[in-house]
Symmetry: C2
Subunit: 353 residues, 2 copies
């Protein structure tokens, strides 16, 4: 597969078409599985990793219904690896592993990704636009079942699925929703909201998972523990918390529109104006500005701009995407100029009202 | 005179047509004079101030060639007073005096202003576009001579002209040039340049004279002392220092264009973009952004924008001007919205290249 074809388009999960998409960007569901008879990835030698990759690939490519493509991440250059990270198809860990056979299989819509030889032998991930935990779970469960028919996963009657890190033992399930919470940030309620989540064992992360900073008011909420409850119970926890956060965020936006209308309008209009005019821009700034523009779109302050374009630009203004779109590797400075030009052109003639 | 007609236009001295106008916004020359037989303004009672006003008015209005209009500042509301301050036709001191007859005479081009009962009985001011000390001095000297034929000014053979504050004794002359020095600011050479000025008894002030902050990289350079040299010698000092500052500023701009072209371009383009998009804006921010735009115009980065428009907007975005242009008094918040709208409309469709 030529990864150059990825950059100009975005995955189905970023279409912004799902439920509650004014607040919930996407839903991600992940299952961790390991093959019986092999050490976990961090203890396996190269030969064992190669065997794991080979066995998993065979099983994955047999999932004919899903038309998956397998990409050997070990053979990719760093730009291509970064591209897959920016698209959330692989983790930063899989990208930056020093050596060893590893890879990812995904479908054309980028709604399924199966990482091989990440922390666990297999990380099955389902991505959906908006809030869509149930359908994501059904898809994950179905693929898990199909793979289970071909492979033997490490499972203990006492603990459930066995994983490299104890935090994933049990269901091996991590469900996350990516939320856009500018209202709670601006009204300074975000810390309070997150403290409440911690009490119910949910964890908040930045845009690119564990250890990543929260940028542009985007936050990932996911379950902390994977053990001691059924998958359905975990999903119910996340759904409940998400539903509450959505309602808090909408209230905050309403309050802002009522009490600080001009400030919001100003922030949105300036963000758009800066994106339309800057000559150089970092990816962090682009994301912050696009966050304000996204809010503006959902508050109907920028009627001519579609949410899907904002999602597209958020992904495409990331470093590897900028280089892929230009067609060659760029230095940091060149990237900042290319990014600014790309954003200027894409947002030309859009006005905030 | 109806002051409402002032706001939509600007004084001749802001046409940006004078010499060295890429760096020198304007030249201002001021003479301080007091009438014999009356205490200085701060010691005069209301009757004496009224007599001073009456005698000076008579003499001023007899200067038929100049078609001067006299405005009694004591009778103006605060908005009109502020308007005259923003146009540099009167000082903040004259505007904010608690009571007493006082006023200003000026011509339609706003190149002459004669303040009555400011710190001194008479403050004669000549304003010119760009660097134009000689012609300003000739104009001031001519009017001074004409007034001298009708009035008796307090003069000591030992000290020269007597003034309320000892710093003005002697020639009563203050010559200032308003410089735009973004290059020296950005290359962090401004402090060094100003220290050199202090050594030769020149003083640096902000946009609105004594005690005012430097905003938008605009600085007024003027002579500190007025005693012990001829007028020509003071003017020569200022001219020499200004010529050097102009050359330093141009070198700094050239260096920036050579070594930080993208940064300059970015700063100019973002400033224009923000002016074209913001929904609310303070006058300070407007001035800072217009300063960057002014630099961009002179670096030919904004080919469709004339320097005179930038000068106009710098004056017209001040608080009293915004209210005059809208046609009614506005709260601070309303002003910030009206200013942003005015600037958006005036700069619509202008592009930075």
């Amino acid at each position: 597969m030529n990864l150059d074809t990825l950059a100009p388009r975005i995955g189905e999960w970023l279409r912004g078409s799902g439920a509650e998409s004014d607040v919930v960007v996407s839903t991600r569901l992940r299952l961790a599985r390991n093959l019986v008879g092999y050490p976990f990835t961090n203890r396996a030698n190269l030969r064992q990793k190669a065997e794991v990759e080979s066995r998993l690939c065979q099983a994955i490519l047999a999932l004919e219904h899903h038309r998956l493509t397998y990409v050997s991440v070990a053979n990719l250059n760093s730009l291509d690896r970064q591209l897959l990270v920016e698209r959330h198809l692989i983790s930063r860990e899989l990208s930056s592993a020093i050596e060893g056979p590893r890879g990812v299989a995904f479908d054309e819509r980028e709604s399924i990704s199966l990482m091989v030889n990440e922390e666990d032998h297999l990380r099955l991930q389902i991505l959906r636009s908006g809030l869509d935990l149930e359908s994501a779970w059904q898809a994950a469960d179905r693929i898990d079942d199909l793979l289970d028919q071909q492979l033997e996963f490490a499972f203990s009657d006492e603990f459930g699925y066995l994983t490299a890190c104890p935090t994933n033992v049990g269901t091996g399930l991590r469900a996350s929703v990516m939320l856009h919470l500018p209202g709670l940030t601006m009204t300074k309620q975000i810390e309070k909201a997150f403290k409440a989540l911690q009490k119910i064992n949910l964890v908040v992360r930045g845009l690119y998972g564990e250890g990543s900073r929260a940028l542009g008011d985007f936050f990932q909420i996911s379950n902390q523990v994977t053990l001691g409850k059924s998958e359905a119970a975990f999903l119910a926890d996340i759904r409940e918390a998400t539903t509450e956060l959505i309602s808090f965020e909408r209230m905050a936006r309403n309050t802002l529109c009522r009490e600080a209308k001009q400030m919001i309008h100003d922030r949105v209009a300036r963000a758009l104006g800066t994106l339309q005019s800057a000559a150089v821009m970092t990816s962090e700034e682009a994301l912050e500005l696009l966050s304000a523009v996204r809010l503006g779109v959902h508050l109907r302050l920028i009627p001519d701009l579609s949410p899907v374009v904002v999602n597209e630009l958020s992904i495409q203004s990331q470093p590897a995407h900028v280089q892929k779109l230009v067609g060659n590797a760029l230095s940091g400075e060149e990237r900042n100029a290319a990014r600014a030009k790309f954003l200027r052109n894409r947002l030309r003639d859009i006005e905030a009202h």
